[in-house]
Symmetry: C2
Subunit: 491 residues, 2 copies
């Protein structure tokens, strides 16, 4: 092995005094790179720190720091009185490794993903998202009491409790669970106590946790057709065999589900307000679904994603409250009534699923962040939550009316019926229409629409357009409709 002093022209090292990395760090990387590339071979002696500092025109301290780091990591070895040498221990075959470039240059093939990972990663989103009309599902936040919200956050974090700092309860902050249990009892006739509630990072995580807890690969799961695509993604990730069950005027066709898969393990439904069609499940269907679940020893996941916004009649009570056999798992979200960025939702579990979910979760994400939970508890307990919902209900009802008032100008292209609840309407397109093509043309013109056909799991039975109205001002709604008319007229 060759030894000697460094033949590498260390004096030409280009260090940048304006770089975010310190001179010592830059020098460390330069020397390490030279060692790994073989420019500085094992056994080579490095210049004394004083000499190198003078040669490259920096002070001695960064040089000493770089040498110490290289020595600590085993790249160089110091011998007392003899200076520093490139380590002779470095595996010969690892020298001359290429310097990092882009991964494209490093890898000829795409990385191998797991089957579930590949399946989930390949699932398309339902439609483009954004902040312009008529993106479905967006709340209006102009009137959200952010002043109050920021004060609550500040107050709770100025002197946080031990629970907020070290909380290891995988079900979440108990006072929040208590506040949600009380709210759900009064507003949704959900029958539960605080221990049945598990705070999660939005309803998507709720569905994912339940799928992982209950579903083995090839287990059958009923889901609404058309239906919410986030449910599909989580179920496919758990390896479920999907059993799409048609939706009619009474909601999920339970008899059709029984014919297709009588022994399914789980049924996922939105009984209060089906997504995307907006149907409310009839009482007889609810009772039939509960009876099936009891007989089949299956569970029902009730996704109550926007039941807060009902404009006509009284809100229907939850399926969970009707369940006497502990078969219903209720899922709620704060995304629609607070704001989507919060990512906070909750599960209401049958009692014998509480411990399994708590244990499962410790291996998935530990526990929910405490950051929002104390402030949100106070927001609910002091009535701000219910007050905001009431204000938004009035606002959204008026916005639906504006959409309906201006829809006749588009009667040649689609029909729009009022809905008793929710944040969007579904425009029915005539036979032969292509909703995907219309949505794509609209997207190019800066308008976001949801294509109904995309929500079908198999062959779409209907073509239509989802028009969200909740998050847009009357001006935006009118402007959006005018542009939509132009788009449809040039068809």
């Amino acid at each position: 092995m060759k030894t000697g002093t460094a033949s590498f022209p260390l004096g030409t090292l280009a260090l940048d005094r304006n770089a975010p990395e310190s001179l010592g760090t830059q020098l460390y990387f330069a020397l390490r790179g030279a060692i790994l590339q073989g420019t500085l071979r094992p056994g080579i002696r490095l210049p004394a720190s004083r000499t190198l500092a003078r040669d490259i025109g920096i002070s001695r301290n960064p040089v000493i720091a770089a040498y110490e780091q290289l020595q600590a990591e085993g790249y160089i070895q110091g011998r007392v009185g003899a200076g520093s040498f490139v380590s002779a221990q470095l595996p010969e075959h690892l020298l001359q490794a290429p310097t990092p470039t882009t991964v494209a240059a490093q890898r000829r093939r795409p990385p191998r993903l797991s089957r579930r990972g590949g399946t989930m990663a390949a699932l398309r989103r339902s439609y483009p998202t954004g902040r312009t009309a008529f993106a479905p599902g967006l709340p209006d936040l102009a009137a959200f009491p952010f002043d109050l919200w920021s004060r609550l956050l500040a107050r709770h974090w100025r002197r946080p409790t031990t629970d907020m700092l070290f909380n290891a309860d995988p079900a979440g902050y108990r006072p929040l669970r208590q506040a949600i249990a009380t709210y759900l009892g009064a507003a949704r006739a959900v029958r539960c106590h605080a221990d049945q509630i598990v705070i999660v990072s939005g309803s998507q995580q709720a569905i994912d946790l339940i799928a992982r807890l209950l579903i083995d690969p090839d287990d059958r799961v009923w889901l609404e057709d058309p239906g919410y695509l986030g449910t599909r993604g989580a179920l496919l990730g758990a390896g479920a065999t999907l059993v799409p069950v048609p939706i009619d005027d009474e909601g999920m066709d339970v008899a059709a589900g029984r014919r297709a898969a009588p022994r399914a393990r789980l049924a996922c439904v939105c009984p209060s307000h089906q997504y995307p069609l907006g149907v409310t499940m009839s009482l007889s269907r609810r009772l039939a679904l509960l009876e099936w679940a009891h007989q089949a020893q299956a569970f029902i996941l009730e996704d109550d994603y926007d039941s807060e916004y009902r404009y006509a009649g009284r809100p229907l009570t939850s399926l969970q409250g009707l369940d006497t056999q502990a078969r219903v798992i209720y899922v709620g979200t704060m995304s629609k009534v607070m704001f989507p960025g919060l990512r906070l939702g909750y599960l209401v579990l049958p009692e014998d699923l509480i411990d399994p979910i708590r244990a499962l979760r410790t291996h998935i994400d530990g526990h929910p962040s405490t950051l929002a939970q104390a402030a949100l508890t106070e927001f609910i307990a002091n009535g701000h939550f219910a007050g905001h919902i009431r204000r938004m209900r009035t606002l959204y009802e008026a916005r639906q009316q504006i959409l309906l008032d201006h829809a006749p100008s588009l009667a040649a292209h689609f029909t729009l019926e009022p809905a008793a609840a929710g944040m969007h309407l579904v425009a029915a397109l005539p036979p032969g229409a292509n909703d995907l093509a219309i949505c794509e043309r609209a997207r190019q013109a800066g308008i976001i629409l949801g294509p109904l056909s995309r929500f079908y799991h198999g062959q779409p039975h209907r073509q239509g357009l989802l028009l969200g109205y909740a998050g847009f001002t009357p001006h935006e709604i009118r402007g959006g409709l005018a542009r939509l008319q132009t788009i449809l007229a040039t068809d």
Copy 2:
């Protein structure tokens, strides 16, 4: 079918004016329960609202509300001029359903969980947790700048940006990713740009996401033995076949891993500071591990969970920064340097795993909560983050010294060596000792210790005690040792 007026003694309905539920809601549930139990049969006529109100001594409005709700849900039907009747549509076989009681009374057998769900739910936690000495891994928060933190939260939420409200980026808030990339480059020699960073809900979620993305059932995964149990749980949840690889003085024994499973898909390591033993992986082992991953087309998950706290020498740079083949996935957490309740960590991904993880995540939990992200960005960018780490490093180093200074009194029971890094020490027990028994006796005396044997995946090779020191005052440390001495002396 029998018809007639209600024979049910409605006048005896017990309503509670002090209950959290309104009188109308209570009446609704009482009548619904009577209908579902068959006490009020289909076709029965209910009393007029005015009559019932008088009979039970409440005002008429709650009665009207309850009737409206029952009618909206199909339990009763109104006929103009004839009053309200229990619906004749109710499926006969669903009446007389039992009233909800506890699930124990409803279900004879425990619910069937998925195999993965059952496996994950059955995994034991490593040891009892709590807030008393010597619980490992707890930071000290007496000096955390909560005043500043609460001001930052308040400022960002008083006038939130659109990104904070509607952020749908599954990788997280981009300015935070930029701040973390800069920090990691300077402090850990991680080589990455902001797009490679994905904000997650703590390192546990990072490991779970990677396991789901890469691991198919029965794929082999190397993991450190002894090692962090959260890694084991996430890998078992993905169906991995675990390949425990022994730890020696140089860290993971790569040659042993190659013999046991040369074609493993993933290796999980803590090269900076092995958990729980505290070993730093040598350079030659790092290079050997990288070479294996390159040859086997495997990935390496580098869990850099507490590298911020190194007291002797300089912190070793990351394995990620040494990787030229885009094989290393780096995981960091804010739990140790901010506070555990925050649940915020990050992944640094090879470029060709960025899009798959982003897509996968939309089906798992959507995106990380925006609540902390803007405030944390400013906390890092303004130097508070680095400043807090520096202060805690000094504090924890002193606390380790206090533990070592007082350990000689326990020399008859165990030996304690100083460590160059971390938040706990491992006390080596003599042959024949039983660390689980000692930890249990300590727990009964109010002292928390981690039993080393519990961290082995198979047969434990050593017995020892993990003593966390970072989160406890000198007084607590001395007091804990005194009690521990009493416990061990009575053995």
